[in-house]
Amino acid sequence: MLSGTPPSIKRLIEELKRLPGIGDRNAERLAFHVLGAPAERAEALARALVMMKKTVRDCRRCYNLTEEDLCGICRDPNRTEGILCIVQTARDLLAIEGTGQYKGRYHVLKGVLSPMRGIGPEDLTVQALLARIGEEGIKEVILATNLNVEGEATASYLLAALKPLGVKVSRIARGIPIGGSLEHADAVTLGLAIDGRKEL
């Protein structure tokens, strides 16, 4: 970047570059776009960013994203009781919601096992999940972690951890390519994967 660029622009560019998929050129383009826009647009953007960080938090029960104590799904009385779908991230939850095939509630793990990155069960929301099984009278659990190695290992781990609790455990299967991630699967495929889940 030109050394003549004012420091405040440089700072914005540096911040933008931390975002996924944003390289040097894109960061510069965005920064100069904001610079050229009316002041209230820039302020609205800044406020939206700050507000989101301030108000969005994890649902107390399922760790989905929410601005309340409990998320919309946990509060929804029309959801089927007694069944939980376990996902890695809130984004995967959204992907499954997008299929319209699933009417139960969720539990967001907030990650997957990865010893190489030092992530074990204690770094995920597993304790809360195990507590929910008894508290909410859960009868069936669907493991919807990704179908890559880490997702599979996490599913196997959960199966072992859930077994003593006597719940029915199944794993999404059909349609998702081996190694595939839920985020990139289309709604129809994902819907089939939930329908075609296999009991473990």
Binding site: L113, S114, P115, M116, G120, P121, N148, V149, E150, E152, A153, T154, A155, S156, Y157, L158, A160, A161, I178, G179
Partner: protein
């Protein structure tokens, strides 16, 4: 598949020459050190992206030059492609029809296969990883999905090894990674064993023709079936012959799981995964009258050489079968000088039955012969190929 022409450029000592190859037999001959193996190497690099010699790129580029290149035209029944590879200080680039192909995997998939024979005879008695690699390469060539299956296994293996560094993982967490290793590993085992099912029949037939006697085969022993306390190779009494082919993938996964369970204590001490396809044993065996004979321990140099030759030729046939009759290009470097007269004659018989295109080297032009009109011979001198027949 065959190569129509090939043109080395600043490659070792070779002259820049467009060499038009015969669809069947191509022989380069001449005294050592003149460049006949360099020519074979150029073709191998173009077709397989690796040299069969241990060579850095600086060895391949002619002294005093910045880069080198090899180009050639491949012909199939209904299509053709111009291939080219170039090497410089930054590394290697490969092109198909002038389009740069970033992924070596993609290049190799579209190119087909080149088989170099023989690999070092040390393969028979060397570390088992050599023999596993040969199998894996052959599976790679016959199953497009294998590289990703293999990467999945490696990823499970690395993760599981990392778990040993954790102070007190729960039994459930260990089980999660045991299963990940068993699942991904069982696919590798299954693929290798499926290959061996047909490969061993082929090897036995070729072994007989190459005067090795009866029953040449590769015995695959999964690490979970090793004799407790025994070392991986050469230490398994012949009575411990396990029938491993034709087993279901699920049974293999179960075997790995049980093996991991049994080795738990030893693994804890070593901090490594001791059971899985990365620890399996592969042996060259002959079915002698007194039971199987391990060639690594009891084979003569000549027998070992013939066994490697039989394996490689069997792989060629296997690849041709998997690709619906599309033979790979086969390169034989100075094979005949290592074989006695009877085996040399047998080899000539075998390769004449193969439908493949052959590129052969020999010290003398009559070492390996082919019928009039079925091939071309070049004399190689100081890097130049001179057609003589």
């Amino acid at each position: 598949m065959r190569m129509d022409w090939v043109e080395p450029d600043r490659f070792r000592n070779l002259h820049r020459q467009k060499i038009h190859l015969h669809p069947r037999f191509n022989l380069v001959y001449g005294p050592n050190g003149q460049g006949k193996t360099n020519f074979l190497e150029a073709v191998a690099c173009l077709g397989s992206l690796r040299s069969f010699r241990t060579a850095g790129k600086n060895d391949l580029i002619r002294h005093g030059e910045e880069m080198c290149r090899v180009s050639g035209r491949l012909l199939w029944a209904e299509s053709e492609r111009i291939l080219s590879i170039s090497l410089d200080q930054r590394g290697r680039s490969q092109f198909i029809d002038d389009r740069r192909i970033a992924s070596p995997e993609e290049y190799l998939r579209s190119v087909g296969a080149v088989h170099f024979i023989p690999e070092d005879v040390g393969m028979v008695g060397g570390p088992p990883s050599w023999r596993r690699r040969i199998l894996d390469r052959a599976v790679f060539e016959t199953r497009p999905g294998y590289p990703s299956e293999y990467r999945r296994f490696l990823s499970a293996l690395r993760q599981r090894n990392a778990l040993f560094r954790k102070a007190r993982p729960s039994a459930e967490e260990r089980e999660g990674w045991d299963r990940a290793l068993a699942e991904t590993g069982s696919w590798i085992l299954k693929r290798r064993m499926d290959l061996l099912g047909t490969l061993n029949r082929e090897m036995a037939a070729l072994g007989e023709i190459l005067e090795l006697g009866e029953g040449l085969h590769l015995r695959y022993t999964p690490s979970f079936e090793k004799v407790p306390g025994g070392s991986a190779i050469g230490n398994i009494p012949w009575m411990e012959h396990y029938e491993t082919t034709g087993r279901s993938r699920e049974a293999l996964a179960e075997g790995i799981l049980e093996g991991l369970f049994r080795e738990r204590e030893r693994e804890k001490r070593s901090g490594h995964t001791l059971v899985g396809p990365h620890r399996d044993a592969v042996q060259f065996l002959l079915e002698g009258s007194g039971g199987p004979v391990d060639l690594a321990r009891f084979g003569s140099q000549g027998q070992k050489r013939a066994a490697v030759l039989a394996l490689k030729l069997a792989l060629v046939r296997e690849v041709a079968r998997a690709r619906e009759g599309e033979w790979p290009l086969v390169i034989l470097d100075d094979v005949s000088s290592e074989l006695d007269e009877a085996r040399k004659k047998a080899l000539t018989g075998i390769i004449r039955e193969f439908g493949a295109q052959f590129l052969l080297s020999a010290t003398k032009d009559r070492d390996l012969f082919f019928p009039e009109g079925e091939g071309i011979a070049w004399r190689v001198q100081a890097g130049a190929l001179q057609r003589t027949a």
